[in-house]
């Protein structure tokens, strides 16, 4: 019987192949994601282990509150003296390792796109984390070493000049050495190494270290030394062995990158979900077409379990095949993704691809699992074929499912799904569980719709097909054909619906985000010019705002800083600081309690809070709140004002004065600065003046006007949107494959009928047209259902965000374009089936049994 299954699969190989494609895409994405992240994590691991090769013990500060840039606060240099007194310490070195910018003499970045750049101090040779491949380490105050990858990228060599920017003005250095870190490429990341005092000056960490590295005396184990040092240094410092330190850093990077794998796996799941619809349909049709064969097998004495097994084993084999191919494609995909990321500037460190056993096992289990689950229902249907079916003349068994049962099940599922989504929207569960519930709810709703959709196909296809019917007989037949097996059309369309619902959803959301950002800039920013770091997410030196305010034509320039904090009773929040004397000249906010005056009056431990935080923590003017800073300090702040909701909280949840930020929260760089020009002056002219003045001291600062800022933001949103589109395209392509297979199978079923139509004079062209129209009806059915579903989801999920100033907008022309493109995709999907149908030999088709 097993060999029979093999032979059946082989006899229907194109069909099996098409079925496999439904799974291959998703599995490729699963395997590719794992290979990519394993490889990247492995490379980072190598880097950190290599960098800590000679370090027995490392001291860093504990990260109290996770920061956007992942950095740890620096700590007092006095710790080094204490460490040196510990018995067993042979060598100890205090180091700086902070983010900065590395530019060539012209002020152009040496970095690889978005990858961070670091300014570091050189250590004694033994504790040095880098290896010098050329030249020597920096000795003088104007000397620097640079990693060879960055030097190569910018065509720099020893003796050339580079500019380093820390928290102050850019300073020129002569390149005296080229380095390599940990033997692997460090992604696009680059490191410049200068002497310790220079590094401290550049990064504004005079009298402080980011890290202390220690070598032990012979005979003293790292663990022993670690414990001894722990006893003498302040408890808020983290003392680890070199190996522990490398492990932790590698795992932190792993955690930071995990969002990438979660996002990619989510898209893989979507594609597999769509694929399961296709598999379900192919198996359902195949089982229906084999009704007589199953009946015959039953008359020969095959039991129900044997029939079940033959169908499931087919599913198993297809699943295995698809998983294997998917894994191979995934490995290629990982390389492709890595190349793609480095092409857009997000280079990841590379080494030979890591293909873990877990990757293979998980891919196989998912691939086979999805195929088996999707083929289970058709397989059960096959077992219900009675032996007497062997004698019946009709090929296709009628589906006997009861409408009321369908309605009941789908109604129940829809209620559960909507309840799941509602529970998140109302109670606001955040993070993983919230996303899982929304996802689960959405899946339940989609399944509910697909269960009930056969009932909807007739009326919907009638409407969509109505214009086609006017095109003549072929249109009329296509319209009728799309309705004659409603559940088949329904499942095919539902697969497409899923992809298009998501496309619609993200399109609406991105459009809402775009217009909300524009709104905020228009209504909240009074400053016409914005000073921001490269890419908009690197800090800028505070002197930049100072310099800007001294330029003629500038009325005020005000810097704004950010830090992540934890608020007792309200969890992780973002805190910003403003310059009280000038803030009201550059921004305009709406108030729930208090007024703009309160910002001007901000001093000491006072804060203005957002409506969201005020709600969550029950705050109003006069109340105090307890905040944990990134340095581990607990600060008590008094509320002096509450902002109205609807400001899209671009200032975070808590606003304090710049002085307070520096003193208690340890942030001494601006995140961005806003500039107000003198009325009556051309903004462009002032912008040009600032730009010119910045050229030399602040080459990394971007000087943008409001329109440029909007474009900038829009571009970021659109880049993300484009990436999501590409990933969703996988699911859409899978559903189009579904249309192709379903059409081919239907044609096979209708061979006789097509032969009859040809024999009474239908031309090949008309046959092609008829098939094409049918595909278009199915595609448009899916597109419209997806559109409706997407709009509903966007609407639902948009409700709780309205309070944050987020407003959905419905880009009607874009959505209409999507429907048109989908209809066209239907035409493409019909090419092969239509050609196949038109090439049927009339005589053979008529006598086909």
């Amino acid at each position: 019987m097993l060999s029979l299954t093999f032979k059946n699969l082989w006899a229907r190989k194109w069909r099996s192949l098409m079925t496999a494609i439904a799974v291959i895409f998703g599995i490729a994405l699963v395997a590719g994601t794992y290979v990519l992240t394993d490889t990247t994590n492995g490379a980072f691991n190598d880097i950190f282990v290599g960098a800590n090769e000679n370090t027995d013990v490392a001291i860093t500060s504990k990260q109290q509150v996770a920061q956007e840039d992942g950095s740890n606060p620096a700590f007092s240099a006095s710790v080094l003296k204490k460490v040196r007194t510990v018995d067993g310490v042979r060598l100890a070195s205090g180091d700086i390792f902070s983010q900065g910018a590395i530019l060539d003499a012209d002020g152009d970045s040496t970095g690889g796109g978005f990858a961070p750049q670091f300014i570091a101090s050189s250590s004694p040779e033994e504790l040095e984390s880098v290896e010098y491949v050329k030249g020597r380490k920096a000795r003088g105050a104007d000397e620097s070493a640079l990693d060879e990858a960055a030097a190569e990228r910018s065509g720099l060599d020893l003796g050339d000049t580079i500019l380093l920017v820390g928290t102050g003005k850019a300073r020129p250095f002569t390149l005296v050495g080229l380095t390599r870190l940990g033997g692997a490429s460090f992604g696009g990341t680059s490191i410049a190494q200068v002497t310790l005092p220079v590094a401290q000056q550049l990064t504004g960490e005079q009298g402080r270290f980011d890290q202390i590295t220690i070598a032990a005396d012979d005979g003293v184990s790292p663990e022993e030394l670690r414990d001894r040092i722990r006893d003498v240094v302040p408890a808020d410092l983290l003392v680890e062995t070199g190996a522990e330190n490398a492990d932790r850093q590698a795992s932190e990077i792993r955690d930071n990158l995990s969002f990438l794998s979660i996002a990619l796996l989510a898209f893989a799941a979507i594609s597999l979900f769509v694929g399961s619809f296709v598999i379900f349909n192919v198996f359902s049709i195949t089982v229906a077409q084999r009704t007589r064969e199953f009946g015959m097998l039953r008359t020969l004495g095959a039991g129900r379990s044997q029939i079940l097994r033959t169908v499931l084993v087919e599913g198993l084999l297809i699943g295995l095949f698809a998983s294997f191919v998917g894994i191979l494609v995934g490995i290629g995909l990982a390389q492709g993704l890595s190349a793609l990321l480095s092409a857009v500037g997000a280079e990841l460190p590379s080494k030979t691809l890591v293909i873990a056993t877990r990757t293979i096992v998980v891919s196989l289990v998912i691939g086979v699992g999805v195929t088996l689950v999707a083929s289970l229902l058709p397989a059960l249907r096959a077992t219900r074929v009675p032996p007497i079916a062997a004698l019946s003349e009709t090929l296709v068994a009628k589906s006997n499912s009861r409408v009321w049962l369908r309605g009941l099940i789908s109604g129940l599922l829809a209620v559960i799904g909507l309840a799941l989504i509602a529970s998140v929207l109302i109670s606001g569960t955040d993070g993983g569980t919230g996303a899982a519930r929304i996802g689960g709810g959405a899946i339940a709703v989609v399944i509910a719709i697909s269960i009930f959709s056969p009932q909807l196909v007739r009326p919907m296809a009638s409407v969509i097909g109505a214009p086609l019917q006017r095109l003549g007989l072929t249109g009329k037949l296509a319209r009728e054909n799309s309705q004659r097996n409603p559940s088949r059309t329904a499942v095919t369309s539902a697969a497409l619906m899923i992809g298009l619902a998501l496309v619609t959803f993200v399109t609406i959301f991105a459009s809402g985000l775009n217009s909300s950002v524009t709104d905020v800039i228009d209504s909240n920013l009074k400053g016409e010019i914005i000073l921001q770091g490269p890419g908009g997410f690197n800090p800028i030196p505070p002197e930049a705002a100072e310099l800007a305010s001294s330029i003629p034509g500038v009325e005020a320039a005000s810097g704004i800083r950010f830090s992540n904090v934890k608020v007792t009773g309200a969890g992780g929040r973002s805190l910003s600081s403003v310059q009280p004397e000038s803030v009201n000249q550059v921004i305009e906010l709406e108030w729930q309690e208090g007024s703009a005056e309160d910002l001007t009056r901000l001093s000491g431990q006072e804060a203005v809070v957002s409506a969201g935080l005020a709600d969550a923590a029950g705050l109003s003017v006069g109340d105090s709140l307890e905040v944990l800073s990134k340095t581990g300090k607990t600060v008590e702040l008094t509320t002096t004002g509450v902002l109205a909701s609807g400001n899209l909280e671009f200032l975070g949840d808590i606003i304090v004065s710049q002085q307070e930020m520096e003193r208690d929260f340890g942030v001494d760089v601006d995140f961005f600065a806003l500039v107000r020009t003198n009325p009556g002056l051309e903004v462009g002219e002032v912008q040009q003046r600032i730009d010119d003045a910045f050229q030399k001291p602040f080459p990394t600062v971007d000087v943008l006007n409001q329109q440029e800022l909007k474009d900038n933001q829009r571009q970021q949103i659109n880049t993300l949107l484009a990436m999501i589109y590409v990933l969703l395209a996988l699911a859409v392509v899978v559903s189009l494959v579904g249309i192709v297979v379903t059409l081919i199978l239907s044609i096979y079923e209708r061979t006789r009928e097509l032969g009859m139509l040809r024999s009474i004079g239908m031309s090949r062209r008309q046959v092609r047209r008829m098939i094409r129209y049918e595909a278009v009806i199915t595609a448009v059915l899916g597109a419209i259902a997806g559109l409706i579903l997407g709009v509903i989801f966007a609407f639902l999920i948009g409700i709780p965000l309205e309070g944050d100033g987020f407003a959905l907008s419905y880009p009607v022309p874009v959505l209409a374009t999507i429907v048109v493109i989908t209809a066209f995709a239907g035409v493409l999907a019909a090419i092969y089936p239509a050609r196949k149908a038109s090439k049927l030999d009339v005589l053979e088709a008529v006598s086909y049994e």
Binding site: M1, G301, G303, R304
Partner: protein, 254 residues
């Protein structure tokens, strides 16, 4: 009542009674639309007898065979195969019954296109998980005249050859009864003749029991016993004399 039936002398050859059907009715639909496909049929079949069942369309001949073969259930009445009541059997027992005791030959051959002639022939054994006795398989293949065609797929065989494969497949398990449903309905006269000869031979040489539904007088005449139905009732039960006599009989039924 059963015993009286078993004692009823049967036309045709002798042998132990292996199928006994009594009081069979089959009613489709309700009220106005009620159709009595079978209306009180009592009949039994002895071992080694070749029985033809005839009757005009709608006479109930197919229904009768379906019920005898356990493919359909009667509205009332019972069917015993070798002393086992089959009308109340569950799916598992029916499956075992078909596997061990029944063989089928269909009008449309119903061969698996992906299997060779020989593989199709041993298919019932594969399903049952039994090893074929190669001597028996070889004998059947030579008997159906397909020695040089055993590796061919059904698509490479003529209709007559395909039906001969189907007959060999039905015989390979040495079933208690072989049911044939219009086995020549889709064949030309030469091929029909070959297939009927095969069935005849299986009765004569192996003592096979055959129950065949047909509407062709020539086919019916080859049997040992001819049963005719009309409007769900058994109206004729005697050995056939000749094809012409069968035609005459059919005329009286129509």
């Amino acid at each position: 009542m059963e015993s009286t039936l078993q004692e009823t002398p049967q036309p045709g050859a002798s042998g132990a009674t292996i199928i006994t059907a009594s009081g069979l009715t089959k009613i489709y639909g309700e009220g106005e639309a009620e159709v009595r496909a079978l209306d009180g049929v009592d009949v039994s079949f002895n071992k080694g007898v070749y029985t033809s069942i005839m009757g005009p369309s709608g006479s109930g001949k197919s229904t009768l065979m379906h019920i005898l073969a356990g493919l359909d259930t009667p509205t009332t009445g019972s069917v015993e195969v070798e002393g086992t009541e089959i009308t109340g059997l569950d799916d598992g027992d029916l499956t075992r019954l078909r596997r061990d005791k029944l063989g089928f030959v269909f009008q449309f051959f119903n061969l698996l296109p992906v299997l060779s002639a020989e593989e199709n022939i041993v298919l019932p054994l594969s399903i049952a998980g039994r090893k074929p006795e190669q001597d028996w398989v070889d004998e059947l293949i030579s008997r159906v005249g397909l020695q040089d065609r055993r590796g061919h797929r059904p698509s490479e065989l003529s209709g007559g050859q395909q039906q001969r494969v189907a007959v060999a497949r039905a015989l390979v398990t040495r079933p208690t009864v072989l049911f044939a449903d219009e086995p020549t309905g889709n064949l030309d006269s030469k091929a029909s003749h070959d297939v009927l000869e095969l069935l005849r031979g299986s009765v004569d040489d192996y003592g096979q029991t055959v129950i065949m539904v047909t509407h062709e007088p020539d086919s019916a005449a080859i049997g040992d016993r001819l049963i005719a139905l009309r409007d769900g009732k058994l109206v004729h039960d005697a050995p056939p004399v000749s094809a012409d006599a069968v035609i005459e009989l059919l005329k009286t039924l129509a």
